[in-house]
């Protein structure tokens, strides 16, 4: 008998009565506000930022002002130049030299300020989102869903993407004496550019 069959047989013999534990309906609780303000407040609570748009700004000028020392600006969107296109980045080792990665998220979640990325946004180089020092995420307010329940119910990406990450602010740690540090091992900063 394989371990698989052994484990399943033991589970069948030992489990509590399934009839006593019916499957509850899918939960949809909580605040249904999907407004920009709720998203921004939640994002900032987790250390994310809004890339500010000054008069006459384009994404390029806003990025230049926010990251004046950036050399390698990698673009994963068709409507922004950058210094290199993600299609030309061939390996994680090459992606590790990126200062700023610009991507477009298919959706965000107002409750938590999270944005979603998958291989579809990263030209299948998933590590690029984590090896870059900073990430700028283009997001449309029409693509913000209210909360975690509505996100899982409404968004098809959870059923289609092989790799799907909800990123909420930059990487962080509080593992040394409880001190919160933003910019742990992944991105040092995450900024939202509203379109």
């Amino acid at each position: 008998m394989s371990s698989r069959d052994k484990v399943l047989a033991t589970l069948r013999a030992n489990r509590p009565d399934p009839a006593a534990h019916p499957l509850p309906p899918v939960a949809v609780f909580g605040d249904m506000d999907k407004g920009r303000e709720r998203f921004e407040n939640a994002l900032q609570l987790l250390g994310g930022q809004i890339l500010l748009r000054q008069e006459g700004d384009t994404l390029a000028t806003a990025i230049a002002r926010r990251f004046p020392d950036a050399h390698v600006i990698c673009s994963a969107v068709p409507d922004f130049e950058g210094s290199i296109r993600i299609e030309d980045v061939e390996s994680p080792q090459q992606a590790a030299a990126t200062d700023v990665l610009v991507v477009r998220a298919p959706f965000g979640i107002a409750e938590t300020g999270s944005i979603f990325l998958s291989e579809a946004q990263l030209n299948s180089l998933n590590s690029a989102a984590h090896l870059t020092q900073h990430i700028v995420v283009i997001l449309s307010e029409h693509n913000v869903t209210a909360n975690m329940h509505t996100a899982y119910l409404e968004r098809p990406e959870f059923h289609t993407a092989n790799y799907g990450v909800l990123m909420t602010g930059p990487s962080a740690t509080a593992d040394i004496q409880g001190v919160l540090i933003r910019g742990a091992q992944g991105v040092r900063s995450l900024s939202i550019w509203w379109e």
């Binding site: 371990s3 399934p18 092989n162 040394i176």
Partner: protein, 465 residues
Amino acid sequence: MSKVKPVNHAKAAEAFLEDAPHLTFHDERLWDMRQKRDQQMHLLPEWQDLRTRASEIKEHTLANLPEYLEQFEANAKKNGIHVHWAADAAEHNRIVGEILEKHNAKSLIKSKSMVTEECDMRAYLEPRGVTVTETDLGERIQQLDDQMPSHIVVPAVHKLVPDVAKIFAKNYHTDPDEKSPQALAESQRMAARPVILSADAGMTGGNFLVAETGTFVVCTNEGNADLSSTVPNLHIATLGIERIVPRMADLGVFVRLLSRSALGSPITQYTTHFRGPQKGGEMHIVLVDNGRSARLGMEEFWTSLKCIRCGACMNTCPVYRRSGGLSYGAVYSGPIGAIIDPTFNERKYSTLPFASTMNGSCTNVCPVKINIHEQLYKWRRVLAEHHELPFVKREIMHMAGRLMGQPTLYRTAINGTEVALSTLPRFVLYNWLNPWGKHRELPHPVKQTFHSWYKENRLKKGKAQ
């Protein structure tokens, strides 16, 4: 196995209590996490509904575990994931070892996984020529210090900045007197990056399995799990079989509860859904039993399998906060550890269910409504029945039982105690037979017991009327 010595939790805790700076920080840091959890709870009017629903989903899933695991396996395979089953720790380690060997992988980077701790995987792989590098900061600190994680969410929470500075100085050649946590975290980032970029394989744990889609979900904060899983082309994930939920939409309930209960943040910085290998990559998942299927058959303890490993019960527990995770001598510490460790080894962990004041706070904060303090009590009964109580505890309970069963004897003893407490010298009252008296003063003797007062005032008057 019957010869194994029980963990001396009380003695280990005593050592922890001696060190005031560490003790104070540990106690306050964990209590702060508990308070942040409370703040998040108060922001959500639906909090109790979420807990109830989470508990119902988990109980339903556990009652239908074989079917959901089969569904998960079928869907994961369809998406190109290799699915393995490990009956115990040894098989888990062998499976991982074989996958690595097949790929000639000598360098493994991994994110935090309690299951790999449970299986003591590093100790198995390293003699076989695999260098295992923990990439989570806290877990890395523990690895370099050759200690088990002391907390399931914050593994190095019992350490202070100077401790980390010393460990990093030895291994990363940084300043042994470094005082800045930021600088220390940065040195971890700089040390980890080249190891990550040159690793042959990556490994993660996981928080949830989704039967409906064959997805597994990893919730982390540092970004190291996403680096470990996306940089190398080989990704191995290891999860306990109880981690499953039926539907993708059920994740909403659990993701909303997990980080709020753990750290008091609305969500972890990264919530990653793996449904299949990345382009050019290979993905394996090991489903680990290691005692879980047997636990499912324990009528009074099976609901401990609902646990989502948030650590809220640890943060709130006064005993855990003042004794430290390492004093439990087990991979899982705190209240949840005390009710699941005895299922791994009843004798070795026989002392742990006694490491509780029975205040019930663990049960109150548990996001999936495990009746932890009731299970602690039930374990005490089981251990007493199985003769796993230590000598002093057993004899005292035995004497107390006799005493309380006979009113005349009890009253004589109580009167005697009053005399004893007020007249006996300290060394008679405070010694190894009275562990309660360590760090505590015995109560002041009362002038009169309730019984003798009642006899004098009410009983006599009653008769007179």
